[in-house]
Symmetry: D3
Subunit: 256 residues, 6 copies
């Protein structure tokens, strides 16, 4: 596995792998409040674990960078412990890292996102970076890969999966159960309407910038009391399978 | 109607309306290639017409600015006539306009988007602007308001609505038929796969920055030969109804 | 006429015209207070009408973009309804639009300015853009084309033409008389001195940044009560004649 | 005199003078080619000498900073020795210096410009800085103060005064004759037309960004062979008189 | 120990610790070539290990963020695997993180640097951030803490410690020996002169920007063949002792 | 000597010298408080005098620009008369000047710094500029050239030389004695500790951003009462000797 971790390789070793036209995976997470029961590194932790296992499983040559542990989380800043960076900081950080990779000969980059606040900014950024640097980019937000599995297995109805919710809590219970302050979980479902809903797997007709404290005094939305390790395991393994498949297809030029 | 057009009012008249806490509507469009059969102002034209009629229909006090006729369209630049601006240009333009409005006392802004390339950048921008300026913002992309109606009435199967397609051509046939070079319409359906599809009403599992010429040598994707004025009329009227309703709900504080 | 409007043409049609090395005309206006009697779109409206007629009259191939309806108007911000953008926003907007044009093969750009606050910023910007992009640029502020005619025909002495004044009110009376709240016109002449005068056709020895409310409680300077449609017509037609002549000379390489 | 030079004073001495609400004078020049016969510091030298004498003559408390010796001179870059900075560099430099002054309590700034390429950028910059910082600013370009005197005394007809011309060469002959390579002076008059002329005291109807080598193979425009020390002296003394008067009026709040 | 890792804590737990006015430690490293024998994460790894142990040992309340694993390494870009970011990217990243901390009430930040190319940029950045945000900052580059110990124990003469050298190789042999490709170590001493030397513990009279390949074809400078785990241990433990002492003194307000 | 001053030469003369591949010297100073007894231009004055004499003495072809008289001095802003610019302003100013030089064919630049607050920013800037523009750069801070001489001849123990101290006051007594308000000199030694000391010739283990008023109510640190012209002369002449030697070695490609 170490042979796929960028940081653990020497310059010469990396040069040999980059010659094989690998897929470089860069996880982008966040440090932001996750209610009373989950630590602030939840998004970064989930994304990184997923990247590690998918990279290990992938058969096409690939490399993994450490996660960007900070993301765009202004809407969580009311709650202590949240770190947020601006769009331009994120964009320039991504562009500088990508440009370094391209200068060494790299041409395939996969960004693995694990934070809701990063979705639109990363789409914006990859389009700009693609226009400026000569490489192929694929952007994945992990829950888009597992919607079918989630809808199949979730215990909570719509509204139960949003933030520090049934899904994220289940993933943590599977990946590192000691991180979950189980005694502090409680349901906090915010009902949506025709236009707008915080549920992760509903689509919204409009976008309304909002701060999280307007929706939740504790910081979480959804029903973490429905979380269980089994659900976390099923979803995580599905995500690993899908992501490693995407790496292989991307590498082989068969993704689109 | 003129009493709702920002530009046709005097400073004092605007001051009186802004005192009523109106909803300010700003259409954001694009000038970009629309295949062989539609003019490059298609997105801007559709968005502006929609805004005009919705503002007229709305009962809550509102004001309308002229559209930003340029948007983010780098992926169309292979084709002549496309104008593109960078994210930062768009963001700063929106921020400066919004800040002017806020300095005059305004507190409700509705951005009406009519261009695919603007979706993620506008989401990114409104979140940043909301954090910097003290006002409420609602962002709407018009086709999100009419997905149900479109799926009900479209003639083409999935794949037929993407760009300069059955939907956009129908809207133009309804709004300004002389703009459609009908003899030049032809189908160009790009099949999607499990992860990715250009169809406007499919959701994608991944994002891949691509230039349009990779997908279409003429510039359009979908089936404009299925377009008809009646479909355009039905969709447009539904969009007007929904948008004016959103203006009213937003104004009355009942949108969420 | 439509064949000269960028927005109403298809990509392929634009490509054919750009092959003829046309002059692209881009009006730059402003939305800013114009006293009690004129709407805030006065500058943008005048500039756009002038561009439309000059482009129509010109014999050299040319294309017209919609106006940038917002300009630099910080000095009017005391009065409601004024929209202002920063220099860098204006510069980047112009640069992005110009770069798009150059990428499609364009090489001649004419900016038509109709707002006092844009004069120095546009001069600054065209010099920077000319150094960065490979094209010829001509910048025109419309009243510089008609100074002789204005001085011949004006009824007010020096001091009467400055802002929402005899000139602008006359142009509006000619172009769209229903826009003029005639009953609200009143003279407000601000006398200049040896160094400084707000009169549009006096030259100043010094520049002093000032906010308009320091000079006028209603927002206008000059004498709109002297305005008449005939004066507006004479000046407007002179401007159209001069501007179309400049387009032709510019196109034919005979302007300098 | 030293008591008016910012740099030669101690912090405490400056504090005492700033308490008197002085006028701070900052010359802005350029290092740019001046043909075969004048050194590249011509603009900076003239502006600085003028500032020194005007400050000495002024009776209202004032302070003088050393000149910004670099300006915006892209249009001279074809010729060796020209230094040019971008608008944003100039703007930020001016803003940082001005902000430092304002933080120490200063509220009156006079920029003395002596370079054609700086005129529009400085107008643009002072309007932006005035909107951001709480102080009064006056911008003077020295030749605007002496147009009457120049037109009275010049030997060359229109066309003779533009760049490294009768005027600048005369000023140098008066201020530092050893700087003039007299044997290398020759006339190079560029005739203008109805719209455009390089003559310093003609007004132009249009602006066309141009590089100097398009107009002059040696770099100068005008007729330096007509230059003489007496003309330089008369113009310089007039400029000193006017500038010191402006300082006094500005200080006393009587300039406008 | 987990109680000191920012990421493993919940929002509420962090809020409680920040109430105690803790020292926040942020390691700043680099991913850059380290010759043939060390992996590219060497700097980040050393800095992070040091931070972990110092934070554990410190008695004053403190918190640790994950390292910024990327730094300023343009001078290593000739060698594959190096990632470099610009000064502004680093500055904005630090400012955004710091501002988030300050908004939650934090007031003491310790940056722990472990990369030579970051030294001047971090000094520049902390001075700017200190002027903009209301907090105390201490910047430490680890080898400045152990110069005495290094000079006492090193086996190589001056010249032996520079990059991927006796010191860094020894630290890696102590911290994670499997990372060292021992068979690939070889001496590469670059002799300095009166003005300039690459030796880490010599002071230079001048600064000359240089790319590493000008000095070393393999990428390392110094003598890694002299490295041993004991030297690494001694230096590392000294650094932990000093750094934990600095955290305590900083926290107690006794550092200066 | 004049033949080495950029500003006093014509474009053609500069072109001839630049053809010889000269060393261009650009002094970077500061206008900042120097206690009660020294003027605010102290740094700029010392650096400029040093540059003038070194350039005169150097035998390799060289050119001298006027000093940048403003630097980074935020930490002195509590005291009146200090001018400070941001890092980005300084960086862009240097880059624009350097780029102009490179466009004329220049390839060797020596920055002579004379201000403590500029040290890290200039190191940061020259590394960035070196990566962007194709030229060699040497950065010198003058006191680094004379440490040996200073330690030999100083009268004050460690602590006596920091800011407006024995060294700077002695240099001023030698270069322009009338600038020293001798009656206002008094000692103000700030003792350092194991980690940190304001003494110019001590090395610090840590960096702590601090405002000068925290350390000195009058603005100076050190012992200016120990200053004498002889010490100033000895140090200055040593600096001239070293700097001219560096110019020659740099020019001849023998500096490293």
């Amino acid at each position: 596995m170490k042979r796929k971790l960028w940081g653990s390789l020497t310059s010469w070793e990396l040069s040999c792998i980059i010659d094989k036209n690998p897929v470089l995976v860069l996880p982008v997470g966040s440090f932001e409040q996750h209610g009373a029961h989950l630590p602030v590194d939840t998004d970064t932790h989930i994304g990184n674990e997923l990247a590690l296992q998918a990279v290990e499983k992938a058969t096409y040559p690939c490399l993994l960078l450490p996660p960007l542990w900070m993301g765009i989380a202004e809407h969580h800043m009311y709650f202590s412990g949240t770190i947020t960076i601006s769009y331009n900081t994120l964009y320039n950080l991504l562009k500088d890292i990508t440009r370094s990779y391209v200068r060494h000969g790299g041409s395939k980059l996969l960004l693995l996102n694990s934070h809701g606040g990063n979705v639109a900014p990363l789409k914006t950024a990859v389009n700009e970076i693609h226009a400026e640097l000569d490489l192929e980019i694929v952007l994945v937000t992990y829950w888009d890969l597992v919607s079918h599995k989630v809808m199949q297995l979730r215990k909570s109805p719509l509204g139960g999966i949003s933030h520090a919710c049934e899904l994220e809590t289940s993933l943590k219970l599977y990946l590192r159960p000691e991180d979950v302050r189980k005694e502090l979980t409680e349901p906090h479902v915010v009902p949506g309407n025709h236009y707008l809903s915080p549920e992760m797997f509903s689509s919204n007709k409009i976008t309304v910038p909002m701060s999280f404290e307007e929706l939740s005094s504790k910081g979480h939305i959804g029903d973490p009391t429905k979380a269980c390790s089994e659900f976390g395991k099923a979803v995580f393994e599905e995500a690993v399978k899908e992501l490693s498949r995407i790496i292989n297809l991307f590498g082989e030029g068969k993704l689109w």
